[in-house]
Amino acid sequence: MKEVIHTPVPSVEEEEYHINMGPQHPSTHGVLRLVVSLQGEIVKSLKPHCGYIHRGMEKMCEKDTYPQIIHLTDRMDYLSAHINNHAVCLLVENALQIEVPERVKYIRTIMDELTRIQSHQLWWASFGMDLGGLTCFFYGLRDREKILDIWEETTGARFLQSYYTPGGLMWDIHPDFQKKTKEFLKYFRKKIRDYEKILSGNVIFRERSRNVGIMTKEEAVSYGVTGPSGRGSGFSCDVRKHHPYALYDKVDFKEILYQEGDTLARYMVRMDEMYESMHIIDQLIDNIPQGDFSAKMKAVIKLPAGEYYQRVETARGALGLYCISDGNKTPYRLKFRTPSFSNLSALDHISRGFKIADLVAIGGSLDLVIPDIDR
């Protein structure tokens, strides 16, 4: 009788296998592909595959004038459009040593903080939805509409505004801007309590996010994880505090730091930041001084030959523009150090050993915007 040889079949727990998450996956919020290596449902490692919407922005910038570059930066981190524009404007203004009018600084700071609030609202909406709370999505988008309406009146656009120009602003604010912004703050202070009730105080949510995806402070520094994701690990990296621009050295606000480094800490940083942003706008909205909305600029902007580095704090972290100029009207080389790119690099490390369902929570808590990674 022929002997039957039993080859051992590895059980599901032992066998390591790969699955593709994305490029079209609801929790990646864009076209990002994660090749996840799993054992059972435990994440062993993952490899991000980027570049699905790589547009070669740095190459394009070598052919574009500085005012043209502003319109490109909108399209990197589209949820921080104003702040990205601000970076280019500051780069040019600091290189040419142009002092912008006080009125411009006030308006820019208010716009930047409105940007931060609406970005965190959309993040809160989608983060709640990723974890199964569909109501969050409706609440978040409902309140974000109010800010988009305010912007639409002043800038003419709801999403990609390109409102800042080197030296100032495209045009002055709408006469109703201050009134509408104050109405929004009053409205949102009530509504953010609902946010706290529905998610922050929700037992299911807290259990799913506490002690999940832990990143130590040393890891955050080493991976260059900035913004709310880094501050959730206690990494003090707020550009507004360390290298103030616009009016951030004059207004009173706290840098939110949490030491736990888990998904819940990153969540709490963003929630608290919305209160801080409202606090900043409160201090400025009634005091916008009269004056010009732009400094006098030459028609053709040329930066003196040299190297410039300009950083700003977007809703996702530290955005850096490294510009090498040879004295022409276009930069010789312009590098965008985008926050999402560095934040993504930590995802593999912090999600190892957690379940694949936790990966959705961890990815959501890093608040990645894919065009900001690919550029």
Partner: protein, 152 residues
């Protein structure tokens, strides 16, 4: 540490370093062979403690290719820029620093992808944005692409 003291400190760590004048940050060119040892000491020494690589970028300067490291210390809050360059356009390579600053892993892959600079001892040096079969490195100044780049 104030810039004057930092300058002296860097020169004791790497005597071959060349200072670049009139820059926003204190800037040094480091010989490519000394990059890894210098970078490691800049991070490990207690009075420099550069633990945060906040930007790493490559650039084609025409005569040479260079990689620029923007460093900051989160403990001492001082900043430094180090650069390395090579005139070898066919097979440029530097030592990887991703064992010192983990963020370099992605940044070096980007520089490899777009400028064709290789990094020795990098754990996973592949293209990051472009397709594996892409020919050439777009951020090189002599890069030609008649299909995707429209000259006006």
């Amino acid at each position: 540490m104030d810039p004057e003291k930092l300058k002296e400190r860097v020169l004791t760590l790497a005597p071959e370093a060349e200072l670049e004048e009139n820059k926003q940050f204190l800037t040094f060119f480091i010989p490519a062979g000394k990059l890894h040892t210098t970078a490691l000491r800049l991070k490990e020494e207690e009075d420099t403690a550069f633990d945060y690589l906040f930007c790493q970028s490559g650039s084609d300067m025409g005569k040479y290719l260079m990689v620029v490291y923007h460093l900051e210390s989160t403990k001492l809050h001082h900043e430094l820029v180090i650069k390395v360059k090579t005139e070898d356009r066919d097979n440029p390579a530097f030592d990887s620093v991703c064992d010192i600053w983990r963020t370099a892993e992605f940044h070096e892959r980007e520089i490899f992808d777009l400028l064709g600079i290789r990094f020795n001892n990098h754990p996973d040096l592949r293209r990051i944005f472009l397709d594996e079969n892409w020919v050439g490195h777009p951020l090189r100044k002599d890069y030609q692409d008649e299909v995707n780049i429209v000259e006006l």
